[in-house]
């Protein structure tokens, strides 16, 4: 680096001679910063999404590289959020990619003192068996006057309010067909 470029690289020099007199833009930009590339620029793809926390409904842009979520930013196109995210929305990449996140099925047998591993297909099969058995054991066909009840009170469910409409639709449809009525949601709470 020559003396001239060293002086011209000095932020105060650039501030005084350039078009950034307040020193809040180009004048204070370092070489290293200039060489950085945003993850949003090198992403393989971007999905248009919505923040999963509160009900404001902020638009999110989810950037993906090599099959991993690398960045989540506010969507400037959204007429509701205008590109902004709160601390939770801005941290939602961590929510998705955290090493603490549970990625395998766990099983605790009755009276067990610790978790065990379980295959997903086996778990699904066991749960289906338990639903069928609980339903059979607690089925109520009619009330004491012979009017239809067609239900079980042996099964209950409580859903969160980050479920999609399509998911809620299938949950309600399946449980209703099974005769399970004790289906509830955070919306009650």
């Amino acid at each position: 680096m020559g003396i001239r470029s060293w002086i011209e690289g000095w932020p105060v020099y650039r501030q005084l001679t350039g078009d950034d007199p307040t020193g809040r833009g180009a004048a204070v930009r370092s070489t290293r910063t200039g060489q950085l590339t945003a993850r949003t620029e090198t992403a393989d793809s971007m999905a248009r999404s919505v923040c999963p926390y509160c009900a404001v409904g902020c638009g999110q842009r989810v950037y993906v590289k090599d099959g991993e979520v690398t960045q989540i930013e506010g969507d400037p196109d959204s007429p509701i959020s205008r590109g902004r995210l709160c601390p939770k929305g801005a941290a939602s990449r961590s929510l998705v990619t955290s090493p603490l996140r549970q990625r395998r099925v766990l099983y605790r047998r009755p009276y067990g003192t610790d978790w065990e591993e379980l295959d997903l297909d086996t778990a699904m099969d066991m749960i289906a068996d338990r639903v069928i058995a609980a339903r059979a054991a607690t089925w109520e066909d009619t009330d004491d006057q012979g009017r239809p009840l067609h239900r079980t009170l042996g099964i209950a469910a409580l859903g969160g309010a980050t479920l999609d409409n399509e998911e809620n639709y299938l949950i309600k449809k399946l449980f209703t067909a099974l005769g399970a009525i004790q289906i509830e949601n955070q919306a009650r709470i």
């Binding site: 979520v69 961590s94 549970q102 469910a157 409409n165 399509e166 639709y169 949601n185 955070q186 709470i189």
Partner: protein, 907 residues
């Protein structure tokens, strides 16, 4: 109202909400309105960042908002500041009531029709005068209303008015002593500025400043917006809080107009969607009621209960919505001959809500429980009951991103520490199935302004993680396969269920778009998606999974996926996502024009009648039949949509009017009335009736409430959210950045209370109720102010409720402090106010904790003296008299003498 519409407001009243911290990005619209000159008012027990950014902050005692709002109503009526032309045209102010109606003014806090035995009202006397309403006679009894309470029937009317006749007797001069206007005036006449000060602790001058700002900024040329959230809903009088706010907005002509209305800020990404397409026990999609065994044994009785003959409005087509749902569920099996498989629908017999369920779990009545992205061990009231219930199941399925407290209660919950849950004795079999995150699946969320927004999938879920769509689709598929060939009648409903969604990808993920298309509705013969609910038929020729969402897949296009950038469209942004119903962004927007169809003023123009074009036009989709002129008057024998006159702006109401007075549909009375919370430190100065007489009570030894006016529990507490955490913490205490930003549970108190109890800033303290003891670091701030209420000083305490035993930051859970008492209309718990004690130092641990609590309960007169919850003031006071000090401030907790009733809870 859309959040963006707040910029059009001249004044914004925020009450029961800490919008700046809990809906921070939405709050930008408040700030923009303020920059344009709007006055912002915040009314809240605690000074928050919302208060800091408001023009006016009003501290209030938690649980007294109806007294405050009633005071505003009284101010409007006694000064005749209502927007008279709007009130006459669009509300039921002129409607005359039944002469048998008696008000709380006559009956010391009760309305006519109260049955002490049922603790419920016979609402017959609340009705409009004249033509008898056709409401089924079974409902119009106190027994009928007790069923309404058990089944949270009020929620079914979230989107429509309950049945009333189309034609009512009216007095347009508003002078008739039994017209709604005069009834309202009398009902609220004692809600004076002086009584507001006495009950709420709000100085008269401050109260009048709110009244003046609200009324001055309402009318032909100005509008005020009202914003609330769970600070209003989570009370035993929550629905009536919102009614009170709605009455003000109707009286001032602020509903259906730009910058006006009521903005309910819901708390989760798709909590509105979870109500519209409910996973709620008492509802089917689109607010159709789940059938009740006694009221709805047949299809015709069920539909007959949804709408009444002669009723106005769009609920008259309920049969089309109901039959189309049954067709969506059971397809070809559903025919006219078998009433479209109506008998497949399971029936309610009473209260099957989440709190009833939990108590039934404790009692061993429930075998299996699914938790789907929900953490009741932390997020629901009375955490101990939640955990003890889960510890007494045959099996539990938890689906979540992280190992939340509701998955690990058997291992490391608070009851394991006290010995109430012993892992080797806990029988519950637990399956933890990891869930897909919001970026690993596609589908729609419905956010707080009824807007559906489609999310694209960014990546496939890792490992065993799967969406709920995947889990339930495949669970249903497996169960259907296992039951195939069954000849049992009970299995027909599952075997006939339409369940043929296409799947794709490495995990056989079902198509969310195919489900959305079913939700939208389609012609059975052709599969063509219907353009909207007006095309649904009642003869089985259409299927529709949720009639209010009909149109979201119009023209075979996913309308919720529309993302036209905001710069390329007007501020209403009709091409961003899709809002129900029919993409209308502002509900009841017919009221933005005067009865003749002209904008009330140029400044507030939104929808108007275009005489030349012969249709309604404006910036939004008209919430009205597009070509019905303002001067249309229905023929005498008209019913349904045809019966709506050209100035009946409230098109879902049976009489086409906005209801200042609710003649039917509410369990706890036709008008909001101030009652004290279930746990209160003071008497009710307005009436002999202390608390909401119809509140839902679960009177059990494991759900005891602090006695009213108890000296053992002298302080008021409330709980809420922080910006950096989310509800039960499963989505935030697991995130490193958020845990660093808000690293620890705390208890916020005023300097005066700190002095009174010897609390030191950043030191430890613990809060005690009849249910639990919760500890945290002390945060002493002036954000909480002692209030002078009914001649004494009331201290309020505030706690965040995000903490639990799992995650990167752990702590006690504030929701453990609350008992279970519910609003009778919607069965939502009172978890925004309770009474408590606070003491310095950490709480006892292990079995000593149970002894400590038992000692409190004994001194409060609770153990062994179980009376009705919220026991009468006198007994609570008498039993607690003279024994108020459980220990000197600063004394180390956990050294308390052993009580006889140690370990009494959980019995």
């Amino acid at each position: 109202m859309p959040q963006q519409d707040l910029v059009n407001a001249d004044c914004i009243v925020i009450q029961g909400s800490n919008m700046a911290e809990c809906h921070p990005v939405g709050f930008q619209w408040v700030m923009e309105a303020k920059a344009r000159g709007a006055k912002v008012i915040h009314i809240d027990p605690r000074f928050t960042r919302t208060s800091a950014l408001a023009d006016l902050y009003v501290p209030i005692r938690a649980g007294t908002d109806i007294a405050f709002l009633g005071g505003v109503i009284n101010y409007i009526l006694s000064n005749e500041l209502d927007f008279r032309e709007y009130v006459l045209a669009y509300t039921n102010a002129a409607t005359i009531l039944n002469e048998d109606f008696r008000d709380t003014e006559d009956l010391d806090g009760l309305f006519s029709g109260y049955s002490p035995k049922q603790r419920a009202y016979d609402p017959t006397s609340w009705r409009y005068q004249g033509r008898q309403q056709a409401a089924s006679t079974e409902d119009a009894t106190s027994e009928g209303m007790a069923i309404h309470r058990q089944t949270a029937a009020g929620l079914e009317q979230e989107s429509h008015g309950p049945p009333v006749p189309a034609l009512t007797e009216r007095d347009e001069t508003l002078q008739h002593p039994r017209c709604v206007y005069q009834i309202l005036k009398r009902h609220f006449s004692r809600y004076t500025p002086e009584i507001v000060e006495q009950i709420c602790g709000v100085p008269k001058k401050l109260f009048l400043e709110v009244c003046e700002a609200w009324t001055r900024n309402s009318g032909r040329d100005r509008t005020t917006a009202l914003v609330y959230s769970v600070g209003w809903t989570q009370h035993t009088v929550g629905v009536q809080y919102i009614r009170a706010g709605a009455i003000i907005q109707l009286l001032l002509g602020n509903v259906g107009r730009p910058g006006g209305g009521v903005l309910a800020l819901r708390g989760h990404a798709s909590i509105q969607g979870s109500t519209d397409i409910p996973t709620l026990f008492n509802l089917l999609p689109g607010y159709l009621p789940m059938p009740h065994h006694a009221k709805h044994p047949t299809l015709e009785q069920w539909i007959g209960d949804i709408h009444q003959p002669g009723q106005k409005g769009f609920w008259a087509n309920a049969r089309a919505y109901a039959v189309s749902l049954l067709k969506a569920y059971w397809g070809e099996a559903a025919t006219a001959d078998n009433d479209y498989c109506y008998d497949y629908l399971p029936r309610l017999t009473g209260d099957h809500g989440t709190y009833r369920q939990v108590l039934n779990m404790i009692d061993g009545k429930i075998k299996g429980y699914f938790l789907l992205g929900q953490n009741p061990a932390v997020g629901s009231a009375h955490g101990k009951a939640q955990r003890l219930g889960m510890a007494n199941l045959d099996w539990l399925v938890v689906r979540d991103l992280y190992l939340i407290e509701s998955a690990t209660f058997w291992k490391d919950g608070p009851e394991v520490a006290t010995g109430e849950i012993v892992p080797t004795e806990c029988r519950t079999e637990v399956f933890f199935l990891p869930a897909a995150s919001h970026v690993e699946k596609e589908g729609t969320f419905t956010q707080t302004q009824r807007l559906l927004q489609w999310r694209e999938k960014a990546v496939d879920p890792p490992g065993d993680c799967r969406s709920e769509l995947w889990f339930f689709y495949h669970l249903g598929r497996i169960i259907k396969a296992k039951l195939a060939g069954s000849t049992l009648p009970r299995d027909r409903a599952i075997l006939d269920l339409t369940w043929d969604y296409p799947t794709h990808g490495p995990h056989d993920e079902p198509s969310a778009e195919a489900v959305l298309k079913e939700i939208n509705g389609y012609e059975v013969a052709t599969g063509r998606p219907v353009p909207g609910f007006t095309e649904l038929a009642d003869d089985g020729s259409t299927a529709c999974g949720c009639w209010i969402y009909s149109g979201v897949y119009a023209d075979g296009v996913n309308q919720a996926a529309r993302r036209k950038p905001r710069h390329e469209q007007d501020p209403v942004a009709s091409e961003w996502g899709w809002a129900w119903p029919a993409n209308r962004r502002l509900l009841y927007n017919r009221a933005s024009a005067d009865p003749a169809g002209r904008p009330w003023s140029d400044r507030k123009a939104y929808i108007w009648w275009d005489e030349e074009a012969g249709q309604w036009t404006g910036y939004d989709v008209p919430d009205f039949e597009r070509t019905k002129p303002p001067d249309y008057r229905p023929p005498a024998d008209a019913a349904g949509v045809e019966a709506l006159a050209g100035d009946d702006a409230f098109i879902m109401q049976g009489d086409g009017k906005g209801w200042l007075y609710a003649p039917t549909g509410l369990v706890d009375g036709p008008l909001p009335t101030h009652y004290e919370p279930a746990e209160s430190p003071v008497p009710n100065p307005l009436y002999g009736q202390h608390t909401n007489p119809t509140r839902m009570i679960y009177d059990r030894p494991d759900n005891q409430l602090n006695p009213a006016e108890s000296e053992v529990f002298p302080y008021v507490f409330s709980a809420g959210r922080l910006t950096e955490h989310h509800t039960g913490g499963g989505m935030s205490r697991t995130v490193a950045y958020l845990s660093e930003l808000q690293p620890e549970m705390f208890i916020e108190v005023s300097p005066q209370l700190a002095a009174e109890r010897g609390l030191t800033h950043l030191g430890w303290a613990h809060v005690v109720t009849a249910r639990a003891v919760v500890e945290g670091r002390v945060l002493i701030t002036e954000r909480l102010r002692p209030l002078r209420v009914e001649g004494r000083i009331i201290h309020q305490i505030w706690l965040p409720y995000h903490w639990g035993s799992q995650g990167l930051t752990t702590g006690d859970s504030a929701n453990d402090l609350f008992g279970i008492t519910l609003d009778p209309n919607v069965l939502i718990q009172e978890s925004k106010v309770g009474t408590c004690d606070i003491r310095p130092g950490r709480r006892p641990t292990g079995p000593a904790l149970l002894e400590y609590l038992a000692d409190y309960r004994r001194r409060a007169g609770l153990d062994g003296a179980s009376g009705p919850n919220g026991a009468s003031r006198s007994s609570g006071r008498r039993r607690s008299g003279g024994r108020t000090d459980p220990g000197k401030p600063g004394r180390a907790a956990g050294t308390r003498r052993r009580g006889k009733n140690a370990g009494a809870e959980g019995e």
